[in-house]
Symmetry: C2
């Protein structure tokens, strides 16, 4: 008789027809929060991983590419960002990056789900450190509600959201972008993660179209992100005044993906992506 083997796999269904598998050592959390399903596993390939409603949010090994690109392109496009709003981002990774900018005085982080914050503090100290920074003020509530009625308060709003389903769907739509526009001061801008052009081009073009109804300048940029579907991830900036392709603020220290040169290069889109964007509703 042959010796038997066992292994344990975490599987993400990135689309109905595409899945990513990661062998795991253990399941650290597997709970239903009031808002979503939260899973934390320890993978062999990428270290600890958090998934929400079945979608990988981060792994210890590659989260730096996403969090750096989401935070630093918008923050460095602004000459001196002082007050920042992070919508979602309860893991703390984006806040950790935001406070690297010396001009930043206050970061308000609004996440709807206390359990995400708790899980990050328990299992991802290298991310949740961002939540402990004295400049960071964490609010547990619906960001759609928080932002309504705010006026001229922020320099940069960063939407660090899950995919646009259920409660996160509104974060990809005009009414929210209009509220964000009002909440921004004169030189303000919004940045959001806007999915992969290979697997979800409609979400990207939808977000861009909705943002263009509100912001005079809208630009898409991209970066590598291994554990997100297809590994090619887009981000979209809506800006009132500042052209986002050019870094003008201080370049943050201690980055592993972002640099001044990467900032500029990230706005160079392959022709197929330009075509996807040109084909959107306008």
């Amino acid at each position: 008789m042959e010796r038997r083997n066992t292994d344990i796999w975490f599987t993400e269904y990135q689309t109905k027809h595409l899945r990513l598998g990661l062998s795991i050592k253990s399941v650290l959390a597997n709970i239903q929060t009031p808002y979503q399903h939260l899973l934390v596993v320890d993978t062999d390939q990428y270290g600890r991983l958090m998934a929400l409603d079945g979608a990988i949010q981060l792994t210890e090994s590659d989260e730096f590419t996403y969090h750096e690109m989401l935070a630093h392109v918008a923050l460095t496009s602004h000459p001196a960002p002082r007050r920042i709003l992070i919508v979602g981002g309860g893991d703390g990774g984006t806040a950790r990056e935001a406070v690297k900018h010396e001009t930043v005085e206050e970061v308000v982080l609004v996440d709807i789900d206390q359990e995400v914050i708790n899980a990050s503090k328990q299992f991802f100290p290298s991310l949740s450190s961002g939540l402990e920074d004295p400049k960071v003020n964490v609010l547990v509530m619906d960001a759609l509600e928080y932002i309504r009625g705010k006026s001229g308060k922020f320099d940069v709003v960063i939407v660090d959201s899950t995919d646009p389903v259920d409660f996160a769907e509104g974060l990809f739509r005009e009414p929210f972008y209009r509220d964000v526009f009002r909440a921004l001061n004169e030189g303000g801008s919004l940045v959001a993660q806007t999915e992969s052009p290979f697997s979800d081009p409609d979400i990207l073009t939808g977000a861009v179209s909705e943002m263009e109804k509100v912001f005079p300048i809208v630009k898409v940029f991209w970066g590598a992100m291994p554990t997100y579907p297809t590994g090619m991830w887009t981000y979209t900036i809506g800006s009132k005044v500042h052209e986002p392709g050019e870094p003008r603020g201080q370049i943050p220290p201690e980055t592993r993906y972002y640099s001044e040169e990467i900032h500029r290069a990230a706005f160079v889109l392959p022709p197929f992506l330009e075509e996807i964007l040109q084909g959107r509703d306008r």
Copy 2:
């Protein structure tokens, strides 16, 4: 009793701990050639797919990113490439891109495996069209043997190889690079695919180090490639004279990933990748 479901999945083990799954409609070829295992399946997500020895070589939907970046960066770095050697690339995708350059007079394609060529002609007409071009001369033999003793014959040598295992391993080593150097004329250059910095940094740094023993100018560039491990793919150029970061030849028409601006942007490496390269043996 509940209604049962079935589905069929192709699974690639990208590492021991990481796998990519694609649901498939059918298996079109599943054979052992004299050199490797060859699989062709029809996937729901990406169209037809070819795998060699378990590694995805191409899918109909995303092969353009790989073949364009492999061919056009090196070819456009040369002011007027006329004679090209493709090592491997029996599917024809790289040849299809190479003949887009008007200056190109002859493409010699040397692949060891006739079955790869046959499978491409049967199942991937949009790639094998590259093999039918009158400028393309296909030789079925070991490229290591072909190149030995050639002198001053080619402007650009493109290594479109499988991963460096078994018969392909020699394609990542100094003796082969030395033969290529001799086979190139004065302004010549070599380009090779050199794997992902996330999943196989050692292959990348190994190839760069070996190339640096032979070529005075060695540069790494990168691009997105969804169905290759981690989606972030590197390529390395060894050049005798021309700085590869700057396009100087004619920009090829009808590209979907490559452009003059992407050419320059592809040489901008994230700091973590610069660090990997700085840590290599020298």
